[in-house]
């Protein structure tokens, strides 16, 4: 029920904070998503979307840090992170 899905903002519509929304790309599927709870979101940002609302902007720095930690745990070489493939 509380699963939220990451998607990339491709365009933003509207000014009224209640109904400001974005077209968000979920790996090929594009939906219109309300941005009231992620007012700082910009085109190109990744947002976590739940029932039609962005609940947070995904912090890229944190994502990279966790990825680095996980690679260390597995004893792996740190591979370059591609924007589309990691969240």
């Amino acid at each position: 029920m509380c699963l939220a899905v990451p998607g990339r903002i491709i365009s933003i519509l509207g000014e009224d904070p209640l109904i400001r929304s974005a077209r968000v790309d979920f790996g090929g599927v594009v939906k219109e998503i309300n941005l009231a709870y992620a007012p700082e979101a910009q085109v190109g940002d990744y947002v976590l979307v739940h029932v039609g609302f962005a609940i947070t902007v995904i912090n890229e720095g944190e994502a990279r840090r966790i990825y680095a930690d996980l690679c260390k745990v597995a004893g792996l070489e740190l591979e370059p992170v591609h924007a589309e493939s990691s969240v």
């Binding site: 509380c2 709870y37 029932v51 039609g52 947070t56």
Partner: protein, 347 residues
């Protein structure tokens, strides 16, 4: 114990428990808002939808949940009720705008992740003075459920189940932040690690919990830093505080009546409260006597301990909510683990 249905699902789907050493066991908690919604509330919604001028809008998760006497929202829809599945609370608002002659009721459920979208829908309806829109509110609160489990006699006194730590919910925490869990970590001396839903997130959180247990710490740690901040989402929290207030008590399936664990719509938005508008009365309903959903939700029993599991109760014909919700412990066990059970016993 993992609290969130999304974690239950990830653990089952990726066989994470099989990767862990024998000393580490994962117990499923009541973190699926579909699973903890009492049958009586669905009965109420169906009775509402039977009124000829009512359009009931519901998330897909609820459509097949069994209510009393074999009813469900889907069956009521097949029988002629105007029940529509929606992706978002805003879809229900759109329907109300487009069909002013219908009384559009949004069946709101969910933990803290799902509550802000309902708050926004109500604020939007208020701004537009939409007179034909209302919300049947069943939002519940995560910390109350955790507290209820931690204070249950089976855990506290009888020692029948032992919980050494919690895998904290991912997206509830994106909204409420990591701060609210500090109370549990301190009061009950149990570590909490908030984890994302990817399998590696969960494994990393288990590692962090094991380290805390071994080092005798009981802190709140955040594995899901890319989405969760300590204060959470301030705007979302503010909207919820503006529109909702605590109910003194609310019945949870499997946990009984839990105080201060659920929300209702505040008086200033009372015009959009379906319970007020339609004078809805709640009639508690009993679960199927063989159904063990209550015990499963509290981590007291495994799905296979239930006599109905796999015999009468399957995903095609669910008897209780643990099976009908994709995130329920029984549905997860059925989909991902029963083959392993069969292999082990050689059947």
């Amino acid at each position: 114990m993992e609290f969130c249905g999304g974690h239950t699902h990830a653990i089952s789907r990726y066989g994470l428990e099989d990767l862990l050493p024998p000393g580490v066991r994962l117990i499923h908690g009541p973190g699926c808002p579909v699973c903890v919604l009492p049958i009586g509330r669905i009965d109420t919604a169906i009775r509402l939808a039977e009124r000829p001028n009512v359009t009931l809008c519901s998330y897909g998760d609820l459509m097949r949940v069994p209510a009393s006497k074999g009813a469900s929202l889907l069956r009521a829809k097949a029988a002629g009720c105007d029940i529509r599945m929606v992706y978002s609370s805003l879809d229900a608002v759109r329907i109300a705008r487009a069909e002013p002659q219908r009384q559009v009721v949004f069946f709101a459920i969910g933990f803290e992740t799902t509550t802000p979208p309902t708050a926004l829908a109500i604020r939007l309806a208020a701004q537009e003075r939409l007179e034909n829109f209302s919300v049947f509110c069943n939002h519940v609160l995560t910390p109350s459920a955790i507290q209820n489990i931690l204070e249950s006699p089976e855990l506290r006194d009888l020692g029948r189940i032992r919980i050494d730590g919690f895998i904290g919910p991912a997206h509830v925490s994106a909204v409420i932040g990591s701060n609210p869990y500090t109370f549990f970590a301190e009061e009950f001396a149990k570590p909490v690690v908030i984890a994302g839903f990817e399998p590696l997130d969960v494994m990393q959180a288990v590692l962090m919990l094991v380290r805390q247990v071994n080092e005798g710490r009981n802190e709140v740690e955040n594995q899901y830093g890319r989405a969760v901040r300590s204060a959470g989402n301030e705007r979302a929290k503010a909207d919820v505080a503006a529109v909702f207030e605590l109910r003194k008590s609310f019945e949870w399936r499997g946990l009984g009546v839990v105080p201060y664990s659920a929300l209702r719509i505040k008086r200033q938005y009372g015009a959009f409260d379906a319970e007020r508008r339609f004078g809805l009365e709640y009639v508690p309903a009993r679960d199927n006597p063989g159904c063990q959903c209550g015990a499963v939700l509290r981590g007291l029993k495994q799905p296979t301990d239930c006599k109905l599991f796999g015999t009468v109760c399957t995903p095609e014909n669910p008897m209780g909510s643990c099976m009908v919700s994709a995130e329920g412990a029984c549905a997860a066990h059925w989909t991902y683990k029963r083959f392993r059970d069969g292999a082990r016993t050689g059947t």
